[in-house]
């Protein structure tokens, strides 16, 4: 597969091409400008760039899409992070009176990292992932997406592949962007079921009554558990992993463990209120969030369409309609799409562009459409279209208010 030909050393050559031809700037600006409903929203947004040799620059900000483009094409950042919208332009923060420069708003974000599951996956560890453990991400997305929409009422969620070992979620609703630190932390804790660090063996404890949120999440886990845990991870296949499972079962319970038609059954002389087979399933599969990422209004998170320097993969949005077939290894790398661009150039039919240009019109050629990146940008467009409908409503409302005078 061409994507496996990515070599980090080639980044300095590939990045300029990526930022000149492929990075979807107009969609990106369309997103972060949020319809222009709030003044200076884009201008007061912090970006940070990681440049060659790990040079890190914070508090970058731009007044227009054009300025952003020019700067990125000049600096060719290896990584781009998005921060908060501040009270003043971030690139002028040093001129602001101390204490008055504040982070005001930002999307509500979640970061699911496969390393946080190391104690429950046997196929990989640390930064590695494979198709067997990727199911954990699928489960995480399904559970969190449902909860954020149905329980919290959010509508505009952007799920993004981080480029290596996890996924991010950007909740872009206006209400979400305005949440306080306390509110963000409350949301993250509502969504957290796995409690405990290295010193805790049993990380999920359920008590009566079982909250509807837990029931809904369990329903998702139960759907995937037989194939994921029993087959792919084979948690009952080897003594040590069986022991691990058994360590989560209370001592004073007699039980029988058996496989019946690919399902896990733990029958026991259980007292009412003991939910250990549910607890086991949750401990193995329930999403593990880093609350600290979601809490901070000023927290910087990797930008969608940023490149991952180690793998070369582009952080692409994930279309939830195709979630079950999403393959992180099929995500285009920067070398692949640059190569695709070169190939298309050879069989070039730029005549369409030229003929329009002859009519004196400026035509922008969307080069990304010639690459595998196209479908991801298209999905991003759909996401933006849905949000735009809400911006329209907002702008109308604002102009109505003005007319009242």
């Amino acid at each position: 597969m061409p994507s496996s030909d990515y070599d980090p050393a080639s980044l300095p050559d590939l990045l300029p091409l990526y930022y000149r031809r492929l990075f979807p700037f107009s969609q990106y600006y369309r997103w972060l400008n949020y319809g222009g409903v709030q003044k200076n929203y884009f201008q007061n947004r912090e970006f940070s760039f990681t440049l060659k040799d790990d040079i890190y620059v914070r508090y970058q900000s731009f007044t227009t899409q054009n300025e952003l483009e020019k700067e990125m094409q000049k600096m060719n950042p290896y990584k781009i992070d998005i921060g908060a919208i501040y009270s003043h332009r971030p690139n002028q923060h040093n001129t602001v009176k101390s204490g008055t420069f504040q982070a005001l708003e930002k999307e509500l974000v979640f970061d699911i990292d496969m390393t946080d599951y190391d104690d429950v996956r046997s196929c990989c560890s640390a930064a590695d992932i494979c198709c067997k453990c990727w199911t954990l991400m699928t489960i995480a997305i399904r559970i969190l997406d449902r909860a954020l929409r149905e329980d919290f009422g959010f509508q505009h969620l952007l799920w993004v592949y981080s480029g290596r070992r996890g996924v991010h979620c950007w909740v872009c609703d206006e209400a979400a962007r305005k949440l306080s630190v306390a509110a963000r932390s409350a949301v993250a804790e509502y969504l957290s079921l796995i409690k405990g660090g290295e010193e805790t063996v049993k990380k999920v404890v359920l008590t009566d009554p079982i909250h509807p949120f837990i029931r809904e999440s369990l329903a998702v886990v139960e759907r995937y558990f037989p194939r994921y845990a029993l087959q792919e991870q084979d948690i009952l296949g080897r003594k040590e992993s069986v022991d691990k499972v058994l360590s989560l079962v209370p001592e004073d319970i007699l039980f029988t463990v058996y496989l019946w038609l690919q399902s896990l059954f733990l029958q026991a002389t259980a007292k009412k209120g003991q939910y250990f087979e549910k607890e086991i399933m949750l401990q193995y599969c329930y999403p593990r969030l880093d609350v600290n990422v979601s809490k901070g209004v000023n927290h910087l998170l990797k930008s969608p369409f940023s490149v991952h320097p180690k793998t070369g993969r582009i952080s692409v949005p994930i279309n939830l309609k195709e979630l079950d077939v999403f393959d992180p290894f099929a995500v285009p790398t920067i070398s692949l799409i640059c190569e695709e661009l070169d190939r298309k150039k050879e069989n070039n039919t730029e005549s369409s562009g030229r003929s329009l240009a002859q009519k004196g019109k400026m035509v922008k050629t969307y080069y990304y459409k010639r690459t595998t990146l196209a479908k991801y940008v298209k999905y991003f467009d759909q996401f933006l279209d849905a949000m735009a409908r809400s911006w329209k409503g907002e702008l109308l409302r604002k102009s109505d208010l003005q007319k009242e005078f």
């Binding site: 790990d54 190391d118 149905e150 329980d151 509110a183 405990g196 660090g197 010193e199 805790t200």
Partner: protein, 502 residues
């Protein structure tokens, strides 16, 4: 509750109207004249009350029988209101004034604000629990917290979900009580602990739980008010009579925060391994061991342990060397350390960013905030470890079996700091220590004292001890001069209450 229709000058004889109810939101600052001695007494006594609230909150479940009984007692002793009654006017006046005085003392830093708000919210919660149902609803209305009750049909449709969302809600509750639809942002405490049914951004709260909404509101308003007060503080500091008292009040709650390094450079890096076994509290010993074993610690651990080391006297240069040499043994090369980790260590010492000199975490902070998750080793072992694992660890550290059971008993009762004190006693072979443990660095200091430390360290020990004593018996001669204080002079400092707030 105060009545908004009456404003401006309030004469003492209108106290009956002003303090008609036993509970208030402190929306309006006091405007009368007050003797300086009364000013001081009020403040000191409220502080004692809040400290009691804090201690009880750690040792008992809030609003449990023991908790309320003890708080009743303390309120009585200190002459604060705790139940409705006609003779309570004087106590309510004291409550009102003392609250505002403490606002002056506790608005200045993030840490002080957080502490003050936490205790005031807990105090409010306790007092609110004594109100009748009708009075509770009145509160809602007076605060413009008008939420819609859902229809009977909707209640029926959601019945199962409502019952399953909260331990306190039964089928009968659903039938009998009104349920209110509240935006989730107004009920964060319920959302955070998942004690309520949440749908499409609204929580469904039974009438009996409406207190959480009010608490949230109280907390938010107080937080905003403190921020505003802080900005106008210079006016107060210019009054010589008040400054010493306010300064003293704000240090009293914590005694020592170990932010000023008294022993910089007196500890050498080679000593750390042995010190960790002898004088580190269990949480830090655990972190140190994890660091040595894995040659790495995650962010939470680096903060908790790094700040502790700063508190015991490590200089910035020593800290950098310490972390660097350990991380290099792991997967981090020298370059990466300098780029990624050195910055955050300098940040800890106040040399980067907004240059806040971070203070080492107190026990309260370690126990209550940032619980550890997968891959973490920070937190309080008595709070965050599985009892089984804790037992094994204590066995490994050669604590006697009877000692271990004593510790586990304390842990079961949620007395984490007492458990740590027991651990101190057992490992130092002393009984009945005189100090009340509330800070890991305090543990270290006391341990070094017991082990006879160096002469220098011993001398430094005396200073902290003294301020600890002082904070417990606040002397009453701090205010210079006599006479009266015109509180109305200071009303500009307190933000104007908006709307109908009692």
């Amino acid at each position: 509750m105060q009545f908004m229709s009456r404003q401006k000058k309030l004469l003492p004889n209108s106290h009956t109207e002003l303090y008609g109810q036993c509970l208030q939101f402190y929306g309006q600052p006091p405007l009368e004249n007050i003797a300086l001695s009364e000013f001081e007494t009020f403040a000191v006594e409220r502080l004692k009350l809040l400290k009691t609230v804090e201690n009880l909150g750690v040792s008992y479940v809030k609003l449990s029988e023991q908790y309320t009984k003890k708080l009743d007692q303390e309120s009585k002793n200190l002459n604060f209101p705790y139940r409705s009654g006609p003779s309570e006017i004087e106590k309510r006046r004291k409550d009102h004034i003392s609250h505002f005085i403490l606002r002056l003392a506790y608005c200045q830093t993030e840490d002080l604000r957080r502490w003050f708000i936490q205790q005031e919210v807990d105090l409010f919660r306790y007092r609110f629990s004594y109100l009748s149902s009708k009075q509770k609803l009145e509160f809602l209305h007076k605060n413009n917290l008008q939420y819609d009750a859902i229809s009977v049909e909707e209640k029926k449709a959601l019945q199962d979900k409502l019952v399953n969302s909260s331990y306190a809600v039964s089928g009968i509750t659903v039938e009998d009580q009104d349920f209110y639809k509240v935006p989730f942002q107004d009920a964060l405490d319920l959302v955070r602990t998942r004690k309520v049914y949440l749908k499409a951004g609204y929580v469904y709260i039974p009438h009996q739980d409406i207190v959480t909404i009010i608490l949230n509101d109280f907390r938010t308003r107080l937080s905003k008010a403190l921020a505003l007060t802080a900005r106008s503080l210079p006016a107060v500091h210019s009054d010589e009579r008040l400054q010493p008292l306010l300064n003293h009040l704000s240090h009293a709650y914590v005694g020592q925060d170990y932010s000023i390094q008294k022993n910089v450079g007196k500890i050498s890096l080679e000593q750390i391994d042995s010190l960790s076994g002898k004088s580190f509290p269990l949480c830090m010993r655990q972190l140190h061991q994890a660091l040595r074993e894995n040659h790495h610690l995650r962010h939470g651990g680096r903060m908790q342990y790094g700040l502790f080391l700063k508190g015991i006297g490590l200089s910035l240069e020593q800290a950098l060397q310490f972390w660097r040499s350990e991380f290099i043994r792991g997967k981090v090369d020298a370059d990466k350390f300098d780029k990624a980790y050195a910055y955050s260590i300098r940040h800890m010492f106040g040399k980067e960013g907004k240059r806040t000199d971070y203070t080492p975490y107190s026990c309260m902070k370690v126990i209550l905030s940032n619980p550890p998750s997968q891959g973490d080793h920070h937190g309080c072992p008595f709070r965050h470890s599985d009892p089984e694992l804790l037992k094994q660890k204590l066995q490994f550290y050669k604590v006697s079996p009877s000692g271990i059971s004593q510790i586990l008993e304390l842990v079961k009762g949620m007395h984490y700091q007492l458990a740590c004190q027991k651990y101190f006693e057992l490992t130092h072979n002393v009984s009945d220590i005189t100090f009340s443990l509330n800070h890991p660095n305090q543990y270290f200091v006391e341990s070094q004292k017991v082990l006879g430390g160096g002469k220098d360290i011993k001398r430094e020990m005396d200073t902290p001890q003294r301020s600890q004593e002082n904070s417990d018996n606040l002397t009453l001669d701090l205010i210079r001069g006599t006479g009266e204080l015109e509180l109305c002079e200071y009303k500009c400092i307190f933000p104007k209450a908006k709307g109908n707030i009692g």
